[in-house]
Chain length 476, copies 2
């Protein structure tokens, strides 16, 4: 068992372990190559009776655990969206753990509540969100979207849904491209997935406002109750940006809660050149983005902003005897701003990141990533055997391999699936995929905190090499 | 902005800051004394444009933030239930942050999924839970209980609630003493709080099984659908233990999901002498306890166990294109075992704690806390001006001050409220309160990882001294 008097000695061991990990990172396979159960089998079936040594645990960490890690902080990790981190954020997490405050209400750590209030204001203002929005940290965008839908549900039922249950005629709308968390939230909330209406998208994969309005009218005629529209600023598949001004006008007209999911792309709002993405945001009701995706702040850290905090609190408040405090009403008790009661001191890492990067530093990093993506996309576009399936946007690029003479779509899909598999198995690069209009497409996202141009050039090289290893693409 | 090449230098600064914090901890006021907005006002309204120095940030951390922290790891923190931590857990959190893996599915870090599977098995077996239960880490007990209720909801509606919405005749039962998270969950799930039936308790604050059964029968006669019973093993107010064998028999007979909330007291199951608390658990459907309360593992870390994993997954699964993997079906994709999609690598800290403490070390700590509580309760019981309101249990003690000659209950309540206020304002001790049969009662919980006998003796001394400072208790 560790002792406080040896904390520095023990923490130094851990720090050195981490430094080693960072040093090795680029030489490790990005995506773990282990087989199912391979790690499990190496861990004893029973816990030790007696205390084991830190050295032994760290050795097992290196030998047993690390081979089973998919290295999300590897500069060649370009899959999904990043869950990027930074040294600042890691050190802040260390402090958060050491302080170990449980920040459910203001009283249980006033500094955590008030720092959260400030950093959320910093982000709100820096991102061009309206000054009457208030922010709160949630664990994930999935939870924040659930919170938005639950709040909309309460508003539409005159705050009776929590109490009386959910009528089965509430309707939620989003595009066919929006994230699975919306479907999950509609299920959890008891609104029912059959009441989730997926509106088709235009050729740029954006929700079609005209079809949304037609659907809302139709629903109203059928006695259904339009409750919430979820607009995506940056969809998961293709980073499409839904037309906020049109959607906001419709929501206003029909009295529907407008929630904006900018989980990934929201970070780009720190750049003035992307402010156009949220034109109309002043007429939205809530907005979510993830500093834990592309803002150098460890998972989990989601920023949720809402225009009318009173309705948010009304939708979530419970006040048992043991949580009554004298400060109630004067301060923010954030446990009433979301689902879980307990809360970690997550504002600290945002404070560290924002201060140590500075707004300038943040913008510079983002622009660097966007520039790298432009370079990557240009190279893909020029290559005879690759094609950009949609134009690159932000630090995202969707492309596919088109081996010479291949025109059969099914075979093209198979080629690309095998190509992806080959690349990911190589351990040198990790990409993920999506489907666009039936086409199996590779997604490349360049959002790693410490990614450099050489990693992107390397990615191109690996891609080219990998095509040679897919027999399907070289029929003879 | 920090750089990897200086990581050791920067991490050393942070480590030294933490070591200083630990060294000072006992001299800091347990409960922060700051006034609302005092911290907020000290933080600039706008973020810095340019990068700021780590030294400056750490200095502000000490000067601006620490005074606003309520020190949950302070050995004189005896309020609520602890959110205790340990050096092992803090160092593991540091590593978790550095690795920065997002563990939503097996593919995104096999080692995280498989270590989670193993440590959950360790806990299950060590706690005497049935071998056919499977475990998963959730953020909080609140979320885990929500998950249990949502699963019960799906089962009772033949897996139609997610799809069709929630019928408004599902019923959930718990005692009048159970945690507010149940009420919150019933609201969120769309079952409706009016369908939450709070069953009265016996003189030991335990749910009355006879009344539960009568209520279930009555509901059935009225066409209502009993869906879920939540039994508490250790209620929040008084650590009461509901009669599991009777409740299990009733749930079995009427086909109701039985969820067991042992959020706090569950840890005591590591001790054979407390196994009686879960007699009948083999007939329960799900069980939750918080390593982040009394098992030396940083918040957040909740262990949720469920008998039928297939129904859990059926209740939560969503499978969009971008999350399809080849390993699907062979491995555990834990994002389908709960609400959020993204997940931190939380199994690591459990692994560190269990290995470094050893089972022996864990049991020793728990017994030490229980023994300290017995000592404390004995002293309270012997003191002429204090009374134990209920018998001490585990490391929990509920008592009140009864100034000589005072018999008026309203005035006694006021005295105790003022006493609590005086103590907590002193900064030397932090307790919280509850009400038992109309009596305002102080709760003392001795669960701090590094608490020693001297802290408990000190608490007694502070209590005695504080009574002298409450004018109401000394009328003349
Ligand atoms: C558009 C969008 N919304 C929501 C999410 C879910 O984010 P989280 O993992 O924080 O729940 C994602 C994740 O990729 C996303 O891309
Ligand atoms: C019995 C009980 N259940 C649930 C909870 C909620 O725990 P969490 O903060 O992990 O949601 C508590 C917290 O004190 C509790 O005592």
């Amino acid at each position: 068992m560790l002792e406080k008097k040896h904390f520095q000695r023990d923490a130094t061991k851990v720090m050195e372990w981490i430094d080693d990990y960072f040093a090795q990172l680029e030489s490790l396979p990005v995506k773990s190559k282990v087989k199912p159960k391979a790690i499990y089998e190496q861990i004893p079936a029973a816990p030790p009776e007696s205390s084991e040594d830190l050295d032994q645990i760290l050795q097992d960490l290196s030998e047993v655990i690390v081979p089973g890690i998919t290295h999300w902080q590897h500069p060649n990790f370009h899959a999904y969206f990043p869950a990027n981190s930074s040294l600042e954020s890691v050190l802040a997490e260390f402090i958060t753990a050491a302080i170990g405050a449980q920040c459910m209400i203001w009283d249980t750590s006033p500094a955590a509540a008030e720092l959260e209030e400030r950093v959320m204001e910093w982000l709100r203002d820096a991102m061009g969100l309206p000054a009457n929005f208030e922010g709160v940290i949630q664990d994930t965008a999935s939870s924040a979207t659930l919170v938005a839908i639950l709040t909309a549900r309460e508003v539409k039922t005159d705050f009776r849904a929590n109490e009386d249950g959910v009528p089965n005629n509430l309707r939620v709308y989003c595009s066919t491209e929006t994230h699975s968390s919306i479907e999950k939230a509609v299920g959890i909330s008891g609104i029912g997935k059959k009441n989730l209406v997926k509106i088709p998208v235009d050729e740029k994969m954006r929700l079609r406002a005209d079809l949304l309005e037609a659907r809302i009218r139709e629903d109203l005629e059928n006695g259904l109750v339009p409750c919430c529209v979820v607009a995506a600023i940056g969809t998961t598949g293709t980073v499409a940006v839904d037309p906020l001004p049109e959607l906001a006008a419709i929501c206003e007209q029909y009295g529907v809660w407008l929630h904006v999911d900018a989980a990934y792309a929201g970070t780009a709002l720190l750049l003035p050149e992307y402010q156009w993405m949220i034109e109309g945001i002043d007429r939205a009701d809530s907005f979510v983005f993830n500093p834990h995706k592309w803002m150098f702040t460890n998972f989990d850290c989601t920023a949720y902003f809402v225009k009318d905090v009173d309705v948010l609190i009304r939708a979530f408040e419970v006040l048992p005897e043991y949580l009554k405090t004298k400060s109630r009403g004067l301060v923010n008790d954030y446990r009433d701003w979301g689902i879980p009661l307990g809360r970690r001191f997550r504002a600290l890492k945002l404070w560290f990141v924002i201060r140590s990067f500075g707004m300038e530093g943040l913008r510079k990093k983002l622009r660097h990533h966007i520039a790298l993506n432009e370079k990557f996309a240009a190279a893909i576009g020029e290559h005879p055997e690759f094609e950009l399936v949609i134009p690159p946007f932000l630090n995202y690029c969707a492309f596919r391999w088109v081996p010479q003479n291949e025109t059969d779509e099914a075979r093209l899909n198979a080629c690309n699936e095998q190509l992806l598999d080959t690349i990911n198995k190589s351990g040198k690069l990790f990409l993920s995929h999506t489907k666009i209009g039936g086409k199996y497409v590779l997604r490349m996202v360049i959002g790693q905190t410490y990614v450099e141009e050489r990693h992107v050039l390397q990615a191109l090289e690996i891609l080219r090499e990998a095509t040679k290893m897919v027999p399907l693409g070289r029929p003879n």
